[in-house]
Symmetry: D2
Subunit: 461 residues, 4 copies
């Protein structure tokens, strides 16, 4: 399974701040199901509740009431490292010289090791394995002699990689995206308060109005009196000679991660996915009885694919809506249970049919193998697979956890071998060019997982 | 919300009986989310575990291990009466003269009151408000002087209404459907064991082979040596003069309840729903930009509708897959939260568009009102609604809990008024004739909720 | 471990009835730790909450609020049969011909099998293995044609053995003890309401005033207008010729079960236990350095023993107050862990000392063996054991669960052999005569566990 | 309620290290009921489990299995500051330059504020409000250039106040007590492994052999090959001119905190408490019918008091063994519920009696007031109170949480006024001299809470 690292939510100046943060996290639950946390500030004290599990499991009504104030910060998290303990749950909150500083982070740094070593050489000790703690240390050090804004800027000069940050300190809420803008962060308004969220589906649930994306390299500062925007700038960060860094936004947000009802990087995700499907249909001939998505990720490109190809759309694999809860071990006679329990093909739609499957991506290929095998067992005459993104061939250093490179099917085998492994009659991936045609500013995206061109080189941890 | 009364699962002769029952219930979780129970029998003793909540919440690995034996019976339940206590959880298990008798029931009797009064006059006392306990008393009384089969037959002569039963006693598992066959019950085979389930999606998960429906008025008996079929028959039940009763299967199973991947009443539910959508498209002109289902129930008729009408299918309302867990109270500023949290329309697909919504039914109309209002707010130019079943105008006495009649929108208002209440540009329901064309044996269905023609008159409780 | 069967609490006419019942059960938690239940009645409807576990675990504030009304009935329960399921939790509540009938029972019948067979022959089916369900069936049958009082009387004519009952039906609360009065039941007053409890320690917590014991064979009826007393009487029960049955109250309530702060059978338990200890001291010479109880049961006779013998009292075994919660398996190196974790002797008090241990009873002797061995290991010079009751040699048929007869140490071995098995320097049990001297009405007690003289013969189930 | 700060357990070289740590904490549960934690080390990796609540609630069998290795460290904790979050649960574990360092602390520093400010000025940030984190930072800084032993010594030179520490790092387990030895720490042996515990009752449960106390100012180092002892020494810590610091052990450990079955400061706690009671009896005339302890704390001095005074001992207040679990709110009619629910006097022992109550201490006096009032209500003729320690008049800076000074009854009122407030016939406290006679090395104790003479001045936080 592909896993993302986080979802953020920040709100400044609303009497129901913690509750709204809760629902803003709830709407972004797909971005992190391992832990959740909220920090609130009521003008005097800073309170926090964090816990393992889904948002509704972490926060009770009583927990919400322990989070007073008009400003709040929230975080949902996946672990990409396998270390999933309560220590690592965010937001990260510390007290330094009488000040409370809270920090929530979405992304992944590439120079963590170097920074940790430097900080440790200076006597810093770490209680977590989070990048966030590293950023916090840099920030707090900088805060000793600087304004909050300058301190944030100084910290950002030192870190490399992908980071969307929400900082709550000194009565201000700061939201920023790294200069490449790897991950999304949107600005919205709710009554007289300002809201930040990784995805705009959170605004929809809160009934907040979407204003715009926080821009790559932009820092938005909100306090009691004003909201203003500054640029991250400075020698380490953006050398004058180079001018502004070219944005390199994560195209996988559009391919897979973000909810289709979100606006991300100023793109309506649903429309991008439909377009990917449509271009995919143009790139290859497909002669089948009907087109079927793997739900739910394949639905949106499949819709575009069908409309372009003039082929009938069928929704002939049914998803079990109760999956997600843990259950007991299956009987040994139940083969491929983990895959089958999630989705069930409709037998009378499969037998004797020539079927085109649409999905957004293939990573390791194991799920695809099992599902195609099931379709064959049910009597499918032909199975053609169409993937609305190029083959994933490189690891992501900026916050997405694909499998390890040697598990990636497109690394392990050439295309014709993949066709054999999957036992399909044909297989087409969307081309990189096709993918870029699906978005409005093709030059502003990171495609490293497809082409290995890393905008920020990794100093592997 | 429309609610059903139950799902059944029975298995005879498999070494992993309780575990398979668990997964068979899990696949049928949509038929009852309030309580779950399993009774197992190991040739000597009968064990039970029952509890409130979803299947994975009720049964731990430890609970499963406390259910030994090669035969098991399972049940998931909704309360239609509001009395949801552990007492009412099924299967119902009693001990009588040294025998253990377990009973699981799906359906609703119409002469419960009369039967309770008669039994009480005879000294019977009741510990639950379940129909099941009434059936159990009739069964046990009959068992004093009869074989199990005769006793079941005798009990069935006395009860009226809808009942699928699984009985475990005297080393036998009996499965039966009432003579009208209101609710579904299917027979399958897994290795050398026999399995019964309300829906065949349970067979798919267990990898059991579907054999056929248990027929209306049929009783299937399984024991160590054989499986055989008998007819429920007798003066009270099937007067010789009348011959066999005409089946009256619940068409709402095909419209809404059953999972589309199930075969129910020997119909593939998915295909029926597509056909309902296609006939609906024939019955009315629809000039729109695209067709959109309310997920997930509207998806299947929408697919048929689009194919028939030649209109584009869009999946432009997104369902939140984490809904279902309880969460804290929303902020007072979050209007219509309960409806909105489940589903979110994609704004850029709505504005300026002429949209046709397809859904399976309208009951009270409250959800539809809220959703249409949302589409209007997002700038929809026209909203047309197409419903793949006729207006629900009558209560069901056989196990479906619609709202009370006076809450039904089609009872409260004439069609043109509903159009105004919903604020839609047009509204069409599938005709009764159209609905019947969607199924292969139209004469064998109960349409009471649409036409008020009750096959078994209710002696209202 | 010796286990008792139950504790009862009933209250009529107090606005906080369920809450007071909760605390009345809480004070009697030692009488049953397996399940707890409360039934309340508000003049119209009857509500219930029952669950497995301790009183504070079963009832939340929310549960309490679901129990409205000025009348309530409560029960705490041990299982003596090993079948501990929620089904068996009391009070037992049924609905019959529109009436709700609730019943709580403390005790054990000796003719259950016969009654069950008779009822089953009549068509009654049982959902539990409780005696209580049998009594309920008899009661409900009788209620068809009789007043509640007459029906209770009629039911009591049929049952044999030990029973304290609380019945809530037809707007009345009835409390009664069987004619032999095996188990205790006390009547108290709180403001304008009446309260019944197995032990008066419940009254102390509620600040209710103790009035008197319900007498053996007495039935106290409370309704809105009055409280009155009647005798259980009738051919089956108390043949005119015999006059009143001689009470046979369970002396083990005074020896061990009841809390020392309770008044039971109109005896202050603490004073009885001290007197048992004092008479024990008279019955045998004891030349030791000091006397030490096994806490807590041995404390009270030890206090009396010391005062009589003029020997110093030491409290040199310390009880761990956190025991009772479940914990993980001990390491294999931790011998006799289960015994040692509860109690720890103070080493510097043991070495080289001649010690007299006082405890209330020895049943199987396993705990005593382990504890004496520990004292020997710590260097005790002499260990003398004094037991404030006679040897337990016979099973109880009336509600106390000693070990099975063949496990009883006093059945397995003669006295001198017990001395060897326990590895003690001397051992004395209180004589039956001594025991009877400790109570004010010696003729009114059942001593069956000591002498095998059963007041009501058992028709063993 | 008086609250202590912590209990420690460390074990080096036993295959069942984590499990034994669990039980060692379990035996010391009275020293901290708010959170518990265990860190284990298996030669390569360091694992931890921490949680809120009692030991059995925090650690499941599964949690134990996640703590491999032959070395472990455990901690139980009270919060003295009201901030009881999972962040503050110990042991504290950090990673620094590839090393894992775990630290458990019992005690309270007096120069925390100064140290935090100094560390913060140096850029250190804090994630908790624990003293332990401060010590950890000092330790880790020192470890950069020193051996573990030297680093520990260096850290200890900087901290002032009370501290027992267990440190696990670099393959070693270090146990130490501050130079004054405020709190206890004992060394034991189990098979071939070494064990440290705050109290020896932990050794008894583990069946470890008690060797001796770790001495004030001593540091015991255990590794794979050896166990050795060093002195904390150095300019900051123990100026050459001064020679060794005089130990100032917390006498309240002997008065109240430690379990009576423990050996603490090489004293058998039970014997000390008896002696306090005996000297108390010598210090004042007491003419009463009998002596009664408030259980359980008053039992041990009462035993000594009775033996000295030749007065009868009675155990006439009964403790409810189920208290400790949370329960619902009492009815408003239940006055003083919180006090009464814990303990119930035996009415027939009180009426008309002249009673001497023995308890270990009076802090705020509120419990005493309520209990004496109850005895008066039950008809006590005279109530005399004897306290086996002097009046508590000063706050403790070393880890004991009495009430705030202005709540202390002995601060608020002179003796004769206390007598009136408590409504007792007479009141005697043990004198300071009497208290010191009860211990074998009277010069080695801290009496600050009685006399205000603070061995280490507080730089109040």
């Amino acid at each position: 399974m592909i896993r993302h690292e986080c979802g953020l939510l920040g709100i400044y100046g609303h009497e129901d701040a913690a509750r709204l943060t809760y629902f803003g996290l709830y709407a972004q639950q797909h971005r992190g199901q391992e832990s959740a946390g909220i920090v609130s500030w009521d003008g005097e004290k800073t309170c926090e509740v964090r816990g393992m599990g889904l948002v509704p499991d972490v926060f009770s009504e009583e927990a919400l009431r322990s989070l007073p104030g008009r400003t709040a910060l929230g975080h949902v998290r996946y672990s990409t490292t396998g270390v999933s303990t309560i220590r690592n749950a965010q937001p990260f909150l510390v007290r330094f010289q009488g000040e409370d500083i809270a920090l929530a982070h979405n992304g992944n740094l590439v120079n963590t090791r170097e920074l940790r070593e430097k900080l440790e050489a200076d006597g810093t000790i770490f209680t977590t394995t989070n990048d966030t703690e590293v950023i916090m240390h840099l920030l707090v050090r900088a805060m000793r002699t600087r304004s909050l804004e300058d301190a944030v800027r100084r910290a950002c000069e030192q870190i490399k990689g992908a980071y969307c940050l929400l900082v709550l300190a000194r009565g201000k809420l700061i939201a920023l995206r790294d200069p490449h803008g790897f991950h999304p962060l949107a600005l919205g308004r709710l009554d007289n308060s300002f809201v930040f969220a990784s995805e705009t589906c959170a605004f929809d649930l809160l009934e907040a109005e979407y204003i715009r994306s926080v821009e790559p390299g932009e820092m938005v500062i909100v306090n009691e009196r004003e909201i203003r925007s500054e640029r991250l700038r400075g020698e380490g960060l953006l050398p004058a000679a180079q001018g502004r860094v070219r944005p390199r936004q994560c195209i996988f947000e559009l391919v897979y991660f973000s909810r289709p009802d979100s606006i991300v990087f100023d793109e309506q995700v649903y429309l991008c996915r439909k377009k990917m499907g449509a271009i995919l249909a143009q790139e290859c001939e497909t002669d089948v009885d009907y087109v079927m998505p793997f739900p739910d990720s394949g639905i949106y490109p499949a819709v575009g694919f069908c409309q372009q190809a003039g082929l009938p759309y069928e929704h002939a694999m049914i998803r079990n809506h109760y999956v997600g809860r843990t259950f007991i071990q299956p009987s040994q006679t139940m083969r491929s249970f983990g895959v089958r329990v999630k989705i069930n093909p409709i037998r009378r739609m499969i037998e004797g049919k020539r079927i085109c499957i649409v999905d957004d991506s293939i990573v390791r290929g194991t799920t695809m193998v099992t599902r195609v095998r099931k379709l064959r067992e049910l009597g499918a005459k032909e199975v053609h697979v169409r993937i609305s993104s190029p083959p994933v061939r490189h690891p992501c250093h900026y916050g997405i956890d694909f499998a390890s490179p040697k598990e990636l099917i497109a690394v392990r085998y050439p295309l014709e071998e993949i066709v054999r492994k999957l036992d399909v009659d044909s297989l087409h991936y969307l081309s990189v060019e096709g993918l870029l045609q699906s978005v409005s500013q093709p030059e502003n995206y990171c495609l490293a997982c497809f082409d290995g061109d890393y905008p920020v080189p990794c100093e592997c941890k």
